[in-house]
Subunit: 139 residues, 2 copies
DNA sequence: ATATATGCAAAGACTTTGCTATCGA
DNA sequence: TCGATAGCAAAGTCTTTGCATATAT
């Protein structure tokens, strides 16, 4: 999708990848920064951002640009969908295949756009927030 | 979805609604601010943001929280989908009905979430950018 | 009359970037 | 070696907020 990055594997890059792979959540840059800093106390947030961007462009990690504000990252590659809790902001994977957008193609064609990607995002309330009786959006 | 807002119709609110309705694009807060300022030169950006938020919560306008950064707004209510140009950031409507997510419900149920909404976003390259030969993402 | 909204400006949240020293291939 | 990268800090972008005044109902 972009240039063919030839990545130089620095210590920081390595640790970022490892920490991301270890998490099974979809952390933000800041959360990753926190993890990485435990192992590389002098790492800078800028480095984390630069590397997450680079790694996602190189295809080694996923960048989840879900609605709202903050970006999230994902060590799992391959198409899969997410559901986000409107209350706490948590993002989780939805198992199962993406339904091919057959029926959508005609509508797209009418817009004149070249279709690149179809993203599906679900919004809901996660079990923890439901139990807490928090039903109003916050994140 | 939130409280039952009883909106007091101020001049600023009025003009924001009018300008948004007049545009058939999906402007950002800043673009709306520019329009509104032509008619109310002393309006503040804060007021525009506050009102867009309020109006969208009241259901009078739509807030498009599409991936990435900036928020966009929409005078059309009712479910419809959007396609965004990865090059110039333009957002357009896709005509046609939303396909009911029948096949998705089981997958959602497995997550334990209470499903509130399903959003579909298409990414592509708009005709103008395609003609300009700009195929790399930028916005 | 009075609860709400405005304008203004400052602060906030998140992300990017310029610069110089350092490091990996 | 030497171009890519790190750390640091400053700047940037978009959005929210505190406060005193003005306004809609």
């Amino acid at each position: 999708m972009m240039e063919p990055y030839k990545i130089r594997m620095t210590r920081q890059r390595q640790v970022i990848l490892e920490e991301l792979a270890r998490l099974h959540t979809h952390p933000t840059a800041d959360e990753i920064y926190g993890r990485v800093r435990m192992r590389l106390p002098r790492v800078s947030l800028g480095t984390v951002y630069r590397n997450l961007e680079l790694l996602s462009r190189s295809g080694m990690i996923g960048k989840i640009e879900i609605a709202g504000r903050q970006m999230h990252f994902d060590s799992e590659r391959g198409a899969h969908r997410h559901i986000r809790c409107i209350r706490c902001g948590r993002i989780e994977d939805i198992p199962g295949e993406q339904v091919p957008p057959e029926c959508d193609r005609d509508a797209i064609r009418a817009t004149g756009y070249t279709l690149i990607e179809r993203r599906v995002e679900f919004l809901g309330i996660c079990p923890a927030c439901r139990r807490a009786g928090r039903n109003e959006p916050d994140a």
